[in-house]
Each structure stands twice: as structure tokens, then as C-alpha cells.
């Protein structure tokens, strides 16, 4: 079988000593930042991007990916122990996990979360190995019109995950597209929106925007409510689930995996939506729905499996189509471009070691997390207790040095400060910056594909709907847009985000 040959190739790449080490660093850092509220994977990956320049591409991506799925683990730890979800995706884990902890079952809740995540991660790895090549094969037939439509779909999908009013999210996409146009136009060599500043000729650096908006801007927002955090300092005992527990959690884990994998592939889906969906599903399936919210172990197992599966499968569109389904994937694409790799369907054929190595590393990383996470609970508990006023200056230091190191230029430092203000203002106005960042990255590619598509069709825009694949993609985008506008879905979104 091809799949096994490919996975074997991946394992030989991922299991080298140095790559295992980078994977370990990634998942360890990821868990740590997942535990620390106020520091998410997006800011961390943005901060570490400059450091990865010197690494081989495989090692860089393996480490960055580890941060992402490690953060899902860490987020659930704080959700269970202190009722503070470190990540949006673990919001629902806090509902029943924290109740279990209060009843003295913190150990069982934590191990259920870890085991659920591991099973989901293993299945999702196999799913990626099966579906990614198929999707890439389809994508290889894409012309410029299809790519343009695909990106429209990606952008529309990104508003589904955005909190706040839809109108704001749509506007943020346009702002991102406009920001993406700063710099020299590739076709005509005309400098656009550069205000005669030579430093802007290459365009705005997306590390600057990401760190400013997600790093600096978030810190200012976090400083508004410096609440005391009380940690459940009780000793965590009874780590292993009982036989009875196993029977209760296995079905929710599998259902959560299926749901999470599906939502993860959809652009804009990702982990947060998956965990919310799984919780609702388990509550509906349960014979004792009244136990949910009072420490039902199924309410931990399902969502935890779902968010990890979703985190994993969100790599599929990124790796096969070059289409980021969330901000983290957008940063991964940025990392690839900086390493000189053109993201898209050709990655699999031209860089098989990178592609399969990354996939295999996810499974190794999940295994590491399962082994590491439970013995290290004591360390994580102590990390939760770090006060934010000691933590945030450190984050700012790493942001400042990191952004300087991209081009060794203080201009980028000032630009980051500016985007910090911008990020704070957007947050205050209920406009989520994630769609803007996606649009910023996709914008230049979108324009290029639109130009080429129009050149081939001699200016006839109907080419976007007469080519079958392109019209299907646009139809999905339109359906999605209509769906989020429906009151039912809007209500669901509100519920999913109101507890953040």
C-alpha cells in the first residue's frame, strides 16, 4: 500500500533524533502556553517564526505544529483544574471537567482528556494520510479560476469562526485584502500604498501584523481585567480511568473524533467549533443529559477528542491546497514561504519528506503528550499560578526581539507597536482580527489568480461560474454565507462563543 510506504517515509524523517527533539520542544512549549491564559498558539508561533529560519524546513514545521496541538492539551488542563479555558477550544471542557475536579476526580478528568485526545490524534493522522493525497490530486487540476474561487471560499469560511457581528468580520476581510496590497505590484512593478517609503516596497510583513495584533494588542486587552486566579491546589490523585469509565468514554471519543475531523477540514472550522458541536451531540445522545454540567465524563471525552481531531485535520487544506483554515495555519503557510517552499498541491510531490514527516510527527507528538502531560501536572499547576503582571513583560520582550530579528530592522518594531494599537481598537469594536490576517495572506495570491483567470477568459468574469470545479467552490461559499446568516446558526454561534 502506498499509504504505508508514505507513512514509513514520514516516520523515518520524524523519528530522527533532532526532529524528535524539535517535536518535543514544540509540544512542551505548546502545552505551556496552552496552560497560560493570555498567551495563545498564534502569538507564540508568530514569536518563534524568526527563530525557525535557521532550521531545516521539516524541523521548523514539526516544531510549530507541535505548539498548535500541544496548546489544545494545555488548554484543557487549565479548564479542568481552574475552570479557566486556556484556549477557546477548551471552553466546553471546563463545563464538566471542572465539576469533576471539584468532586475530587481531577485525575480522571485529566486522563480522560489526554486519552481522548490521543485516540483522536491517532485516527486523524491516518485520515490525513488517506485523504490528503486524494485532495491534492484534485487540486493539481485547478486553474487560476478554481484557485480564486477556493480562496473566496476560504475567506467566507473564516467568518464562521469569528466571534462578533458578521458584518464586522466581512469588513475585516476587506481590510486584510487592502493591507495585503501594500508593496510592489508583481505584474507592473508599480509600488502601491507605500507612501514612498522604500521599507514598504516588499509589503507589510505578516509577522509584524500577527505579533502586533495578536501579541501586543491582546496584552493591552488582558490588562483590563486582572482577576486573581485561584488554583485547585489539591493533590491530583487517581489518574487512571476505571473500567466503568472506559465503557462510558469510548463511544463519545469516537463520535467526537468523527465530528472534529470533519469540521477541521472545512476552512474556518477548526477546534473551537468542533468541541462545541461534540458537547451538544453527546448531551443529545446521552441517556442522562441532566448530568451534563455536573461532572459527566462524556462531556470531557467527546469535546477533547473533537478539538484535537479538528486541530489535526485542519492541516489537510493547508498542506494540500495551500489554503489556511485558521490563523495558525496562516502562520504555517508563512513559515513555509519563508523557507522557500511554495505552498500548494505540489508540496506533496516535490517535498514528500517534509509532507509525510510532518504528518508522522503529529502522531509521535501526540504520544509524547500522552506520556508527558500526566506526570507533569504538578509543573502545569505551578505555571497557572504565575501572575499575569510578571508574565506579560516577558511576552513583550520576546515579541520585540522576535520582530526585530525578521529583517534586523527597527522599523518593524515601530510597525508592531502601531498594529498593537490597531489590534486593541479592533477588539474593543467587536471586530475579530483573525479573518483580517487570513485575507492579508491570501490577498496577493487571490489578486494574482484573478488576473490570470481574467487574462485567459479575455475579461469575461463568467469563467468563474462556467468552470465546474470553480462554480462548485463558489456555490459552497454562497451556501456557507447564507447558512451563517440564518438565525438558527447564528444562535448556535452565539452559544459557542458567549462563554469565552
Amino acid at each position: 500500500m502506498d499509504i504505508f510506504a508514505n507513512l514509513w517515509l514520514g516516520l523515518t524523517v520524524a523519528a530522527t533524533f533532532s526532529n524528535m527533539l524539535y517535536c518535543l520542544i514544540g509540544v512542551f512549549l505548546g502545552t505551556a502556553i496552552g496552560v497560560l491564559p493570555g498567551l495563545g498558539p498564534v502569538a507564540t508561533i508568530a514569536m518563534l517564526l524568526p527563530i525557525t529560519f535557521g532550521l531545516p524546513p521539516e524541523s521548523a514545521l514539526i516544531m510549530l505544529a507541535g505548539i498548535y496541538y500541544g496548546a489544545q492539551y494545555g488548554g484543557s488542563t487549565t479548564a479542568i483544574l481552574v475552570n479557566l479555558p486556556g484556549e477557546p477550544s477548551s471552553v466546553v471542557t471546563a463545563l464538566d471537567g471542572y465539576q469533576m475536579a471539584r468532586q475530587g476526580h481531577a485525575g480522571r478528568a485529566l486522563s480522560t482528556a489526554a486519552i481522548g485526545s490521543f485516540i483522536a490524534g491517532t485516527i486523524a493522522t491516518v485520515l490525513i494520510a488517506i485523504f490528503a493525497p486524494a485532495l491534492a490530486a484534485v487540486a493539481l487540476q485547478f486553474g487560476p479560476a478554481e484557485y480564486f474561487s477556493l480562496m473566496v471560499l476560504g475567506l467566507i469560511a473564516s467568518i464562521v469562526m469569528a466571534s462578533g457581528p458578521l458584518l464586522h468580520a466581512l469588513g475585516m476581510i476587506l481590510v486584510g485584502l487592502l493591507l495585503g496590497m501594500v508593496g510592489t505590484d508583481v505584474n507592473s512593478a508599480v509600488p502601491r500604498y507605500t507612501f514612498d517609503m522604500p521599507l514598504l516596497a516588499d509589503g507589510l510583513n505578516f509577522v509584524v501584523i500577527a505579533m502586533g495584533v495578536f501579541g501586543i494588542g491582546e496584552i493591552v486587552a488582558n490588562l483590563e481585567d486582572e482577576a486573581d486566579r485561584t488554583v485547585m491546589t489539591k493533590r491530583v490523585t487517581g489518574l487512571m480511568p476505571t473500567k466503568e469509565d472506559w465503557k462510558r468514554i469510548i463511544a463519545p471519543i469516537l463520535r467526537g473524533t468523527a465530528l472534529g475531523s470533519l469540521l477541521g477540514i472545512l476552512p474556518g472550522g477548526g477546534a473551537a467549533l468542533a468541541s462545541f458541536g461534540s458537547y451538544t451531540l453527546e448531551k443529545k445522545m446521552s441517556k442522562t443529559p441532566e448530568q451534563f454540567g455536573k461532572g459527566a465524563i462524556e462531556g470531557v471525552a467527546g469535546p477533547e477528542a473533537a478539538n484535537n481531531a479538528g486541530a489535526q485535520t485542519s492541516f489537510i487544506p493547508m498542506l494540500t491546497l495551500g489554503l489556511p483554515s485558521n490563523s495558525v495555519m496562516a502562520l504555517m503557510i508563512g513559515a513555509m514561504i519563508m523557507q522557500g517552499i511554495q505552498p500548494g498541491p505540489s508540496v506533496m510531490t516535490e517535498q514528500p519528506a517534509l509532507f509525510w514527516g510532518l504528518i508522522a510527527s503529529m502522531w509521535i507528538g501526540n504520544l509524547m503528550l500522552l506520556v508527558l502531560n500526566l506526570p507533569l501536572i504538578g509543573l502545569w499547576v505551578r505555571m497557572i499560578a504565575i501572575p499575569y503582571n510578571l508574565l506579560f513583560p516577558i511576552i513583550i520582550v520576546f515579541c520585540a526581539i522576535g520582530v526585530f530579528s525578521v529583517n534586523n530592522n527597527t522599523f518593524d518594531v515601530y510597525a508592531m507597536a502601531l498594529f498593537g494599537v490597531v489590534g486593541y481598537v479592533f477588539r474593543k469594536l467587536d471586530a475579530e482580527p483573525a479573518p483580517m490576517l487570513l485575507a492579508f495572506i491570501l490577498g496577493p495570491m487571490m489578486e494574482e489568480f484573478l488576473r490570470r483567470a481574467m487574462l485567459f477568459s479575455k475579461g469575461d468574469p463568467s469563467v468563474l461560474v462556467t468552470r465546474p470545479l470553480s462554480s462548485v467552490l463558489l456555490a459552497i461559499a454562497a451556501t456557507l454565507l447564507a447558512a451563517v446568516l440564518l438565525p438558527f446558526v447564528r444562535k448556535g454561534r452565539k452559544q459557542a462563543f458567549q462563554e469565552e
Binding site: Y193, I396, L429, R451
Partner: protein
């Protein structure tokens, strides 16, 4: 209050409108081209026009629909954090990385309500500066002078 009923809608709408108008006016300097042969101004003009449309809709919604107010703005936080990052940029090459980091950490830390110069904080401050100097300048070789122009000659 004023006639603005949804502050958040109104605020972001004004931003969209301003960016859209600026984008549109600037893009008029770039040749537009035709749909078949798009000039550098084609895509920016479309995007800016859409942004203007969204700006108008959002502003209108802010005027006619009630929304949650913006709430307190953390002026002290935004001012000190921005100042600290700019101070770092200004001092990095002039005074060197040690002074720049000192300014960055002290000014930004002052943004917190709980800022106090106690032994533990000072120890952390020194440790962080030493760590950054050793790892980033000595270890990774970033071109940041440990002591800048001001301290030479």
C-alpha cells in the same frame, strides 16, 4: 448620550469608511486597465469600493440599532505598552540591547495595576535581560549591539 446607538458598529464603520476612501483615492493614481488586462489599480479599486459600502452599512447600523457600548478604554495600558515598544525600537541601536530591554520591561510592566519594584521582580528583570543577551546576541548572533553608539568612544 449622542445619537449613536451602537457605538461598536459606528466606530468600526468609520474605520472601514476611512480606509476604503483612502484606498480608493490612492488607487486612482494606479492605472486601472481592463478586466482582461488588469492594471495595478483594478483590484485595489474593487476592494476599496466594497469597503466603502460595508463602511456605510455599518455606520448606518450604528446610528439606528442599539448595541452594547464600547466600555472603559485602557488608556494607560495602550499608552505605556505602545511607548515601551517604541522606546525599545529607539534605544536598540543607540543605547544597546541592555538599556533598550530595561526600558521595554520597566515601562510595559508599569501598565499593570500590580506593578511593584520588589526583590522578586528585580531579580526576574535582571535574569530576563541576561537571558536575552546571552541567547539572542551571543547564541543566535542577532545584530543587536550589547552597548550602543552612545557608549562607544
Amino acid at each position: 448620550m449622542t445619537g449613536i446607538r451602537g457605538q461598536r458598529d459606528f466606530g468600526i464603520g468609520v474605520i472601514y469608511l476611512a480606509l476604503g476612501l483612502a484606498g480608493f483615492i490612492i488607487a486612482r493614481n494606479y492605472s486601472f486597465g481592463t478586466a482582461g488586462r488588469m492594471g495595478p489599480g483594478y483590484f485595489p479599486t474593487i476592494i476599496s469600493s466594497l469597503l466603502i459600502v460595508f463602511g456605510v452599512i455599518t455606520v448606518a447600523r450604528g446610528l439606528f440599532r442599539d448595541g452594547t457600548p464600547i466600555g472603559a478604554i485602557n488608556w494607560k495600558g495602550i499608552f505605556l505598552i505602545t511607548l515601551s515598544v517604541c522606546a525599545f525600537g529607539y534605544l536598540l541601536e543607540r543605547a544597546g540591547v541592555v538599556v533598550a530591554l530595561l526600558a521595554l520591561i520597566l515601562i510595559s510592566a508599569a501598565a499593570s495595576e500590580r506593578f511593584r519594584l520588589e526583590i522578586r521582580a528585580i531579580a526576574g528583570l535582571v535574569a530576563l535581560i541576561v537571558f536575552c543577551t546571552v541567547v539572542f546576541v551571543e547564541g543566535l548572533g542577532l545584530p543587536m549591539p550589547i552597548l550602543g553608539e552612545w557608549f562607544r568612544n
